[in-house]
């Protein structure tokens, strides 16, 4: 695995913050996030519910919630996106950066045919004729392994199973040949058997099209299967990042460790002595009322006094490979 240099990166996010006005005052739901994805690679974003994963994804397609303040920089192939006007964004969205949503049933319009939903933006972005767009739609559906792609164009979303719907949603996202795909929990609503198919599909797609994928999920298994690099979110910040092997194989942040420990383990021994599932105590924080210092410290078994005082920076770990990064004052698993 090579260390990507910034020059190679297709999408670079630096110091991205999203501030919302909520009923209980302003809340920073994404805080100083920096990411980079190279062409053909998959960056996994992991973290519990509410940690700001979706918000990050939506901001990257220029669709933060109304009234949000976005700071920082988003660069696509060197071009700054945060300064774009709405029409400018509309050209980037779908055409350059596309998004797949978590729930395939709700992200497709129930009253429009698949054909219509596949072609309308394709015609806009690629300037295709209706006929050409239809042909291409069928090809796309074939690409995502939908049986009878031509017939499927005339069908409505409810006529498909969940897994097929997610394939269609992916096809919709791919329709205008985007260079970056943001997949927000693309398999969470699906069965494992179906999920396996989608995982393989995404993997093939990035190889075949050279597309970069930002894979947002709380399922570490899915991340492990797909991601080249991983960023772990907690309370809107990245607490640890690195290659999949580094983060999952040699996790250094107590939170990352906690997540891994909390996973159910298939083993008789752990079940007998009750170690199968080690929960992280406490509940995730809500944005707007994050604890001072390290946001994780109230739930952390290794918390030191310093953790309550200052927020740890996300810093590269001293030893190579240099881009395994960690935000922890204590770093209890330092080798």
């Amino acid at each position: 695995m090579t260390t990507p240099s910034p020059a190679h990166d297709l999408l670079t996010v630096t110091g991205l913050s999203v501030k919302l006005r909520t009923a209980s005052g302003p809340a920073t739901v994404v805080d100083d996030v920096s990411l980079a994805v190279a062409p053909g690679r998959i960056l996994g974003i992991a973290g519990e519910s509410g940690s700001g994963k979706t918000m990050t994804g939506m901001t990257l397609v220029g669709l933060p919630p109304a009234g949000a303040t976005v700071t920082g920089s988003i660069r696509l192939d060197g071009r700054e996106l945060t300064t774009l006007s709405e029409p400018g964004w509309a050209a980037v969205r779908g055409g350059q950066i596309a998004m797949v949503f978590q729930d395939p049933s709700s992200s497709l319009h129930p009253m429009l045919t698949m054909g219509r939903q596949l072609t309308d933006h394709m015609r806009r972005h690629l300037g295709l004729s209706r006929k050409a767009a239809t042909t291409r739609s069928a090809e796309l559906l074939d690409l995502v392994r939908l049986p009878d792609p031509k017939g499927a164009l005339r069908l409505y979303p409810h006529q498909f199973s969940g897994g097929m719907r997610q394939r269609v949603a992916i096809a919709v996202a791919l329709a205008a040949e985007p260079r970056v795909l943001i997949a927000d929990e693309p398999t969470t609503a699906l069965d494992v058997t179906v999920q396996a198919g989608i995982i393989n599909l995404l993997d093939e797609l990035r190889h075949d099209t050279g597309m970069s994928i930002l894979l947002v999920t709380h399922d570490l298994g899915v991340i492990s299967a797909l991601a080249d690099e991983i960023a772990v979110f907690y309370g809107g910040r990245i607490v640890e990042s690195g290659t999949a092997a580094q983060v999952l194989g040699g996790a250094r942040h107590p939170y990352t460790r906690g997540l891994l420990e909390a996973l159910p383990r298939l083993s008789t021994e752990t079940r007998r002595d009750g170690r199968g599932f080690v929960p992280i105590p406490g509940v995730p924080p809500t944005p707007g009322s994050l604890p001072a210092g390290c946001a994780f410290h109230p739930r952390c078994a290794h918390a030191a006094p310093a953790c309550q005082e200052s927020r740890p920076e996300l810093l590269p770990l001293a030893e190579p490979p240099a881009w395994h990064r960690l935000a922890c004052h204590v770093d209890p698993w330092r080798p």
């Binding site: 709405e86 050209a91 992200s107 009253m111 429009l112 309308d120």
Partner: protein, 359 residues
């Protein structure tokens, strides 16, 4: 497959294939329940006319004739008022099936003929009011939803609430005084300039009939007569259409598929009209049905004020005069229109929302 399932399949095997497809099945089911409702309505109408203690002859014989028992007896016999109730009902139902609603003691014509004359007048009025309300309501509703909480949203909210808060009989009066008497802008009664000859009745809608007859003069007159009463009617329902549209569009704007459509890079206009408003179709059909039902009742006031000569006036007149056949006929026709509109709404709903068809 169970035995029951088999039998059913065999029975329906005789029907053509399309008839067994989900949509026609749905239509059939809805038709059946509509017929049941109408049967219920005939029964209620019939029962009502029998509980009313006053005698129809009072309204229909002169003061002197009323005091002559022989005249009264002849009258009752002629209208079958002397037979036992269940028999009267069965006879009535039988006649209904043949399209015979009996004879109106008021107009001395077959009730069916009266209804054919008056119902189109009312339908023309109610339909044009509905159209106006839909046009204004949808446009303003979408605009209000787009800028939720903005000044336009707030103004239309207040305006639509005001619209539903105005007593129709009162605004009809006010409108007629202001636009007819005061400003002399619009005609204030009837459906056509009385000096003009009515175009031959085809649809019963004067606007349509005059066009069919190529009579521009009559068309202009019919339209100008339509403006005031239908505007008055529209005022009371435009708010409902607007609010339904606004709510539905707002709901749609919050859904994942609108987010997804935006994320596809569609223009905001396309997202709004192609995705969000499209989703509002169901609520819009509901709003239209509701307002149509409401207007059907409200025409009683408006027709009175504008001497419209429709089914509303007929209903009022025949019920105050205890013209029993007419009362029954008019109830059934109003219910029929109501049921048909609801049926049409459900079918439209099913046609436009593919999820419903297979239910």
């Amino acid at each position: 497959m169970t035995v029951v399932g088999h039998r059913k399949d065999q029975a329906s095997a005789l029907a053509p294939a399309w008839w067994r497809r989900p949509f026609p099945r749905y239509v059939r089911r809805r038709l059946g329940s509509s017929a049941l409702i109408l049967l219920g309505v005939t029964l209620v109408a019939f029962l009502l006319t029998t509980v009313v203690p006053a005698n129809p002859e009072t309204a229909n014989l002169g003061q002197r004739a009323l005091s002559d028992p022989e005249t009264v007896r002849r009258f009752r016999e002629h209208y079958g008022l002397d037979r036992p109730l269940p028999l009267q009902y069965l006879t009535y139902l039988g006649n209904l099936l043949r399209g015979d609603f009996g004879q109106s003691q008021q107009t001395l014509r077959p009730v069916s003929q009266d209804l054919l004359q008056f119902a189109p007048a009312t339908l023309e009025l109610v339909l044009s009011a509905t159209l106006v309300a839909l046009l204004v309501g949808v446009l303003c509703g979408v605009a209000a939803a787009r800028r939720r909480g903005g000044w336009f949203d707030r103004i239309t909210r207040l305006a639509s609430l005001t619209g539903v808060s105005l007593p129709i009989f009162w605004i009809a009066l006010v409108a007629s005084v202001v636009f007819f008497r005061g400003l002399r802008l619009l005609p204030g009664s009837g459906r056509l300039d009385p000096a003009l000859v009515k175009p031959p009745q085809v649809t019963g809608f004067l606007t349509v009939d005059s066009l069919l007859a190529g009579d521009w003069h009559a068309f202009g007159s019919a339209v100008s007569h339509l403006v005031l009463p239908s505007a008055v009617l529209a005022v009371s329902v435009v708010g409902m259409v607007l609010r339904f549209t606004r709510t539905a569009v707002l709901e749609a704007l919050g859904t994942d598929f609108v987010k997804a459509a935006r994320a596809k890079g569609l223009r905001e206009r396309d997202v709004l009209w192609g995705y969000a408003v499209r989703f509002a179709f169901g609520p819009l059909v509901t709003a239209t049905t509701l307002s149509f039902g409401f207007l059907l009742a409200a025409t009683v006031y408006v027709e009175q004020q504008f001497s419209w000569g429709g089914i509303g006036q007929y209903a009022y007149r025949s019920s105050t005069n205890l013209d029993l056949s007419a009362v029954m006929g008019v109830s059934i026709v109003i219910a029929l229109i109501f049921v048909l509109i609801n049926l049409a709404a459900d079918l439209l709903y099913a046609l436009f929302d593919p999820r419903i068809r297979l239910r």
